[in-house]
Symmetry: C2
Amino acid sequence: MAAMYELSASEAARRIRAGSLSPSNLVAACLKRVDATEPAVGAWVRLDRDAAARVAVQRDIEAREGRFMGPLHGVPIALKDVFDAAGVPTISGAPAWATRTATADATVVARLRGAGAVPMGKLVTTPFAFLDPSTTRNPWNPEHTPGGSSSGPAAAVAARMVPLALGSQTVGSVLRPAAYCGVIGFKPTHRRISTAGVLALAESLDHVGVFARSVEDCALALSLLAGPDPADPHVSAVPPGPYLAVLAAPAPPRIGVLGALIAQATPEMAKHLDAILRELEGAGARLVDVDLPDSFATLRTAGETVLAVEAAHAHSPLYASHAADYPPRIKELIERGRAVTAPDYLAAQSARRRAGDELDAVASSHDALLAPTIGAPAPRGLGSTGDPGFCAPFTFAGLPAISLPTGLDPSGLPLALQLVGTAWGEARLLAAAAWCESVIRFDAGPSL
Amino acid sequence: MAAMYELSASEAARRIRAGSLSPSNLVAACLKRVDATEPAVGAWVRLDRDAAARVAVQRDIEAREGRFMGPLHGVPIALKDVFDAAGVPTISGAPAWATRTATADATVVARLRGAGAVPMGKLVTTPFAFLDPSTTRNPWNPEHTPGGSSSGPAAAVAARMVPLALGSQTVGSVLRPAAYCGVIGFKPTHRRISTAGVLALAESLDHVGVFARSVEDCALALSLLAGPDPADPHVSAVPPGPYLAVLAAPAPPRIGVLGALIAQATPEMAKHLDAILRELEGAGARLVDVDLPDSFATLRTAGETVLAVEAAHAHSPLYASHAADYPPRIKELIERGRAVTAPDYLAAQSARRRAGDELDAVASSHDALLAPTIGAPAPRGLGSTGDPGFCAPFTFAGLPAISLPTGLDPSGLPLALQLVGTAWGEARLLAAAAWCESVIRFDAGPSL
């Protein structure tokens, strides 16, 4: 039988509701797991040990009285340190002058708390959620990066310290570290989830995402997080879907295989993905070779212009007084953005939207498009968080995407695939992902 | 009894439905009125005489059979020549190289046509709907400008050539010419009406608006035009209001008087508006002095940056090949926009939105804010379309606004007031405007 800290959020929630697991015991097990594994990993910025234990006792009492706050009653979660949590500083992985004191929860944090979740604390982000590395280590091999910018969430969920964590993705900051760490990373369509109270990097590209160890947990989180928010007028009015219901008995999906991207991975990764594809096909998936639209390359170049400009905008108040103190990669990004003219920015936005629409049209005729999440396993060393290039175009298109772990390379580092859905089609994507998950059945954790 | 061409769109529609007026006779009366007045005014780019007559006959037949296409069955309308109408060129007041051949109706044109309206043709716009003047003359005095950029719609509705016309406003292009010409000009909240198929000047600021001779016609038009459009994803999902129902018996409104703006008009205009205010108060309106938020000035400066940048973007393909041929004022605007950096543009957008929200908060505690539409009557000469300064801040804030004619100055030129509502509060604004209209009772037309 799995240790308590190994349980998925959904399974833990079910046991709590059934009375066979108490929130306090679960939180205590996770805290103990943190104690055992954190020295090797370094995933946490702030562990709210006492607060979590106190809230868990409250959830215990309610559960005993048959009162349940919501679908995550008593389940521990953790937040990338770009999400505001009331009364706690948001440090954003940055020097002290960038810290903000949060007086209110980010909308998504409030929603998880309102659903009964027990926040355990804040997880490491790279500085300002960009490419400058953090000190977190990959739980599968401490000599390797866990990826970024959501380094802490990926590592903490992989190390079984917490079953569910919030992350954010502007280029490849959820799916890439999830892939490097052997867990699931998911981000829905742009503007599906409120970003109120979340550190901005580039408004047109910023997504809230989640780290979990089951597709069901991603669907559960989305069902709680999706939808309009008075504090974020940009959230779409497109109604959320039946994210959990579609997982009941998913049919073998029709998958559009992006061979041109698989060919850009290392030969080992390509060979591995090919074997996975054969396995999926053998289990009943319908595989279709899909060509990328000509505008796919534009998506990357236009998205990078938008990223640089909007980062310069988001940082302009701080940058005005602290330019010299910025970490080098985000500094370079901001300087690049400052040099772009406004009409060139708007042209990049138009090109990005057009190319995104073309990619979405391709995605819409399949249950999911399949591509690598990463071109190779996590690089050695902590000097780089790896290449987000396989995630970037889909993020820049705003399409929903999920990374599933698929196995380990000979050195024991995780491998992964990426499934991409049509805009607002998260339910269809999650159903396809759940089916693939049930075929691939990778649920190993690192020895720690 | 009023001549047929004097009827409002709503009254004409009622008579057509009652069988006491035939679409053909109405269209013929309007065409005859065009023949009589157009030589002095010059409002039309293209009069679709035969097509209008043919469609009117079709509406006759349907009406006789008791079949009515919609609320504008058989009512003539006309379009500022920035709206696409299928099969007809959209010239936009510009040199021939800028003409586009419309293969489909703009969404708003299709909606009016679908409601039974009979399009009579295209009306003069200033070049590219900006400040370079057109040759249209003010029907009240041909030595004076009718204003712009919707010069033709204002002049045609004032001259009783057509009861209802579509215009567009990015700064002051509907309300200002309406005020100069003694008719009603109305534009709803930004993104309330689709702009698909309408020439873009500055996407964040472009509004579709209407010219009419009764508030009821504005409400009728809005009830047909408001709401989502698959061709324009930017249209808001905020549900349209009961625009016509609220006009049934409007109560005396609570009006926030913007004295600081009235003080910026000429002493004659200020005195006139003061007399109107006394009249409204005498009839039961509750007047409250309202101070402008400190950020009001920012709205203007930030809005002008957004305008310049987005105009440069909208024109970039044409400007690349025809810069030398552009009219001087829009050329200057585009050049100004090209020099803005992208972060400065985003800063201007943020400042504009913040200031707009503050102004909206002020507007929301009143049924309407009252300000001048114009600082003085239409200037002499056709060299300028006048000063849009009294309209600009409200347009840049995206708030709904309506201009009502209030009388004539000693030289016989129209005077006007502007009522501004809270965002998405068009129903409340229109009810206040209808009440004011019933008190002011200005319905004179020019002698032509």
